[in-house]
Amino acid sequence: MHIMEGFLPWQWCLLWWILALPCLMLGISRLKKLLAADREALPLLGVTGGFIFILSSLKLPSVTGSSSHPTGTGLSAISFGPWITAVVCAIVLLFQSLFLAHGGLSTLGANIVSMGIVGPLAGYAVYRLLRDTPVNIYITVFLVTALADLFTYITTSVQLALAYPAETGGFVSSFILFLGILPLRRFPLQLLKELSLHWCLNISSPRYPDTVEHFL
C-alpha cells in the first residue's frame, strides 16, 4: 500500500520525511561498512532487493473483490537488518513513484517509514526474539515476513488517520476505517502468500543448501 502523491498534506509529508531521512542515512552507513567488510554480501543484497521488486509488483486477488501485494521486506530484514532494508525499500519505492505513479515523491518519506522502517523493524524484532529459541525456522521466517507486512499496513493506517481524522470519533474512528480496508481483510491472504512463497524458498534448501542457507 502506498500513500498516493497529493493525498497527504505537506506538513505530514515533511514530518515523515524528517523521520525517514536519519534512518536512511544510518542504513547507507551500515551498507557501506558491510560492503567494505564483505563484498560477498553484494549478491545476497541483490537477491533480497530483487525479491522486494518482484513481490511488490505482484498484485494478487483477495476474496473482497480487490487486490493487494506483499512487500517482501521480511527476508531483507532477516539477512541485513532493518536499516539496510530501509535503503533497499527506498530504491523500490522511488522506482514505483517515478515510473508507475504509485506513491509519490512528497509521500515517499511516509511510504519509506511504513514499508521500509516500521515493517522491517517489526519483522527483525520477531526474528531476534525467536532466533535462539526452539521455534521451527520455517515458522520463524513465516512470522517475520507476515508481521513485517502487517505492521506496514498498520503504519499506513496510522499515517492516513493522523492526516484525516473522522469528524465524529477523530483519529481512532478514522484509524479503524483504514485498518478495515488495509490490513485486516487482507491479512489471511497475506499470510497465505507469505506462507507459500517462503515455504517454496525454504523447501528448496536441501537442493541448493549453499544459496538458501543465506536466507536462514
Binding site: 486477488p61 508507475l100 484525516y164 507459500s196
Partner: protein, 100 residues
C-alpha cells in the same frame, strides 16, 4: 524424510488457491474490479475529507503512465528487474558451487 516433490506440490497448490480465489470472487461479486489498496485507500481519504478524489493534486508534479496497458507493462518491467537480480545471483551461486 522430506518428500521429493514437496516444492512443486506447494507451488501448484499456491497457484491453485489464487486461481480459486479469483474465480470465486469473480462469480460471487459481479463487477469486482480487483482495485488495489492504493485506490481503496485514496477513495476513503476522499470520503473522510469530503472532497472528490480528483481534487487531490500532486504536491510535486508526477508523470502518469498514459494507459492501463503501459502501467501493466511497467509493473511487468519491475518484476522482470527483480527476476533478473534473483535469477542472476542464484545462477552465479550455483555456478560457483559447481566449480568447487
Amino acid at each position: 524424510m522430506r518428500f521429493k516433490y514437496s516444492l512443486e506440490i506447494i507451488t501448484v497448490i499456491a497457484i491453485g488457491v489464487f486461481c480459486a480465489v479469483f474465480i470465486y470472487t469473480s462469480s460471487s461479486l459481479p463487477g469486482a474490479g480487483f482495485s488495489g489498496t492504493d485506490t481503496t485507500g485514496s477513495e476513503l481519504v476522499a470520503n473522510l475529507s469530503g472532497q472528490p478524489v480528483e481534487h487531490f493534486k500532486p504536491l510535486i508534479p508526477q508523470w502518469q503512465p498514459p494507459g492501463a496497458e503501459i502501467e501493466s507493462s511497467l509493473f511487468a518491467l519491475q518484476a522482470a528487474i527483480g527476476g533478473i537480480l534473483v535469477g542472476g545471483v542464484l545462477g552465479y551461486w550455483l555456478g560457483q558451487k559447481k566449480k568447487t
